[in-house]
């Protein structure tokens, strides 16, 4: 498979502070890669560099991209930001139609094709009856789907998701990621997502990349990357990694609370902690 996104020696500094100091990442067409890493590791900055929203050194190659112009880039990459700005008073239908901007240009009225695509996406994401409602009146889960709908209306081969499950309960987290997975298979999308929840990162997608101290510290199938050692090293977290048929399950272990000593003897927790190290 050809690489849909190829990143080599990517360096980004914000306000003269180096954020990314040499990221290498190659994502194949149709693949789903989850980027994990501690706060401040530069996950969002990596996505913003792919989108051309920050200045960078190094190489970012987007397959089929004929020009560096923003409007062209927006026909290849759709972006679901971590905290989307919800415009006051805007209707869901109009909001999703914004996704058609890269195709119609900023001066032209939307065509019948644009409205058809927006309507189809709304139906597909179970927002069919929501077109005339204000976006800010939606619940958290519906809102997340509306933002996803806008990105899908862009009809790009590559989808960039920045913490798409923040602010959602467990059920809605699953709904959104299941939906992305189904859409990926239906449409052959390439997905790059940043996630905080390591278990979710292991469940969904093909590979996990740990971004730490400005570079990709490890990248590969979840089993090989999400280990007790690597999580301790890059996240400073004490965890147990359980295995089940669907992949690793990352469970934090309490290190200081009374819970750890009363509910489970400290020695036993330590032993289990060591099982996989």
């Amino acid at each position: 498979m050809s690489a849909a996104v190829e990143v080599e020696a990517l360096e980004v500094s914000l306000d003269r502070t180096p954020i990314l100091t040499g990221v290498d990442l190659s994502v194949s067409a149709g693949e789903w890669v989850n980027v994990v890493g501690p706060n401040g590791a530069g996950k969002t900055t990596l996505l913003r560099a792919l989108l051309g929203l920050v200045a960078y050194d190094g190489k970012v190659h987007i397959d089929g991209l004929s020009s560096q112009r923003r409007s062209v880039r927006a026909q290849h990459l759709a972006y679901v930001p971590q905290s989307p700005v919800i415009p006051q008073g805007m209707l869901v239908g109009d909001y999703v139609l914004l996704g058609r901007t890269p195709h119609r240009g900023i001066f032209a009225a939307e065509t019948a094709t644009d409205t058809r695509i927006a309507t189809e996406v709304l139906e597909r994401l179970d927002l069919g009856g929501f077109g005339e409602r204000a976006v800010q009146s939606l619940s958290g889960g519906e809102r997340q789907r509306a933002v996803l709908a806008r990105a899908l209306a862009q009809q790009t081969p590559i989808l960039l998701l920045d913490e798409p499950t923040t602010a959602l309960d467990l059920g809605h987290q699953q709904d959104v990621l299941d939906l992305v997975d189904r859409l990926r298979r239906e449409r052959g999308l390439t997905v790059i997502a940043t996630l905080h929840d390591l278990t979710l990162a292991a469940r969904y997608g093909d590979r996990v990349a740990i971004l730490s101290e400005g570079r990709v510290a490890a990248c590969g199938p979840p089993d090989g990357v999400l280990t007790v050692d690597s999580i301790a090293q890059h996240f400073g977290a004490h965890v147990r990694v359980l295995r089940d048929s669907d992949g690793p399950v990352i469970v934090p272990t309490a290190t200081t609370s009374a819970h750890a000593t009363s509910a489970a003897p400290a020695g036993r927790a330590a032993t289990q902690n060591g099982d996989h190290s």
Binding site: R70, Q75, P81, P84, G93, A109, T115, R116
Partner: protein
């Protein structure tokens, strides 16, 4: 799959029909408002000319129509040389201020933004004050320098605010703060001049409160090109302003250049507003109340809001001017007093009765 596609298409055309029907209704309402305002502005006045004769006289002005209105020459002159230019100037000033206001609010994503946000009012006020205290205008000759000084002051203030705002950072907040700083400074200068020249006080105050006064067609002709060019630019960018509503970052991810778009629309809005205040003085509230009332009734989409601001802004100011020249007739109220006195309660009424949330 096939059935799915068909139902999707049917649904899509349903949404589109609904939206375009709503838009058409809103535009018709705007045109009706303008027609009512124009007819009222032309027929109501101290001369007591019957309304139907005024309308016949107007019809006679249209190309290809010849109607004998039965008006005598003096009455004809009142309609075509006094009332008509004044109504046209009211239309142009109102449309320009309301559209500029809507554009400012969209560009800054701020409901409190109005065309005077970046110092246009203070700059124009200072320019006009300088011209008046130096007695270099207001009917002194063929060239009235007060509007020119006001125009220069307004553009100078916006330019300084824009440059200063970009030095402090590139966010819209720093631009707004720079505008406030520039406006305060210029207002202080203007107040100083005002205090030092007490004899010119009344003339300066009258200018500051605004009026739609014409001497023949000079003022409408002066404003018309600015209105046409700046409104065309603002209307052309109305869809881009809808995209900017999701913030610069997301707008850029959707393929736009938010900073460039903001610069262009703010230039157009500022130029239009500067031209409007230079002929009419500082008419307050129009740029903020008219767009918000439209949002409350017809929704927040700039696609609809900007064209409607042209129409309702024009109608509102003509009616406000009609009130200004009739309630104390033969004396005239400053139009700024009327826009605030009538506009503010009307706005509160719309705010209370609307079920929409706009910001």
């Amino acid at each position: 799959m096939r059935a799915n596609g068909a139902s999707g298409a049917a649904c899509a055309s349903g949404i589109q029909l609904q939206a375009s029907a709503l838009r058409a209704r809103a535009l018709v309402a705007g045109v009706v408002a303008v027609v009512i305002a124009v007819v009222a502005g032309l027929t109501i006045g101290p001369a007591g000319i019957p309304a139907h004769r005024v309308l016949m006289e107007l019809a006679d002005l249209l190309p290809g129509i010849a109607v004998e209105s039965g008006l005598n020459d003096a009455h004809k002159a009142i309609v075509t040389d006094i009332r008509l230019p004044r109504v046209v100037l009211g239309l142009l000033v109102g449309a320009t201020l309301a559209t500029s206001g809507a554009t400012y609010q969209a560009a800054f994503r701020n409901p409190l933004a109005d065309p005077y946000l970046l110092g246009i009012a203070a700059g124009a006020g200072l320019g006009a004050t300088i011209a008046i205290v130096n007695d270099i205008g207001d009917g002194a000759g063929v060239f009235d320098l007060v509007p020119i000084a006001a125009f220069g002051g307004a553009l100078g203030a916006v330019t300084v605010a824009y440059l200063a705002g970009h030095i402090g950072g590139r966010s819209t907040a720093s631009l707004i703060l720079a505008g406030i700083a520039v406006a305060s400074f210029l207002a202080a200068c203007q107040t100083y001049l005002l205090q030092a020249n007490a004899d010119a006080f009344r003339r300066i105050l009258a200018w500051l409160l605004g009026r739609i006064a014409t001497s023949g067609w000079a003022e409408p002709a002066l404003l018309l090109p600015y209105f046409l060019v700046t409104t065309a630019i603002m209307l052309r960018y109305r869809r881009a302003l809808d995209v900017l509503a999701v913030g610069d970052e997301e707008a850029a991810a959707l393929g736009l250049e938010p900073r460039r778009i903001r610069l262009i629309v703010l230039l157009a809005a500022s130029l239009g507003a500067a031209a409007a205040v230079s002929v009419s003085g500082l008419i307050s509230f129009v740029g903020i109340i008219v767009p918000h009332a439209i949002r409350l009734v017809f929704g927040t989409s700039n696609r609809i809001l900007l064209p409607l601001s042209v129409l309702f802004g024009a109608a509102f100011l003509v009616l406000a001017d009609l009130t200004a020249r009739t309630v104390l007739s033969p004396a005239e109220l400053p139009i700024g007093v009327v826009t605030a006195f009538l506009g503010a309660p009307f706005f509160v009424f719309v705010l209370r009765t609307s079920r929409r949330e706009i910001w």
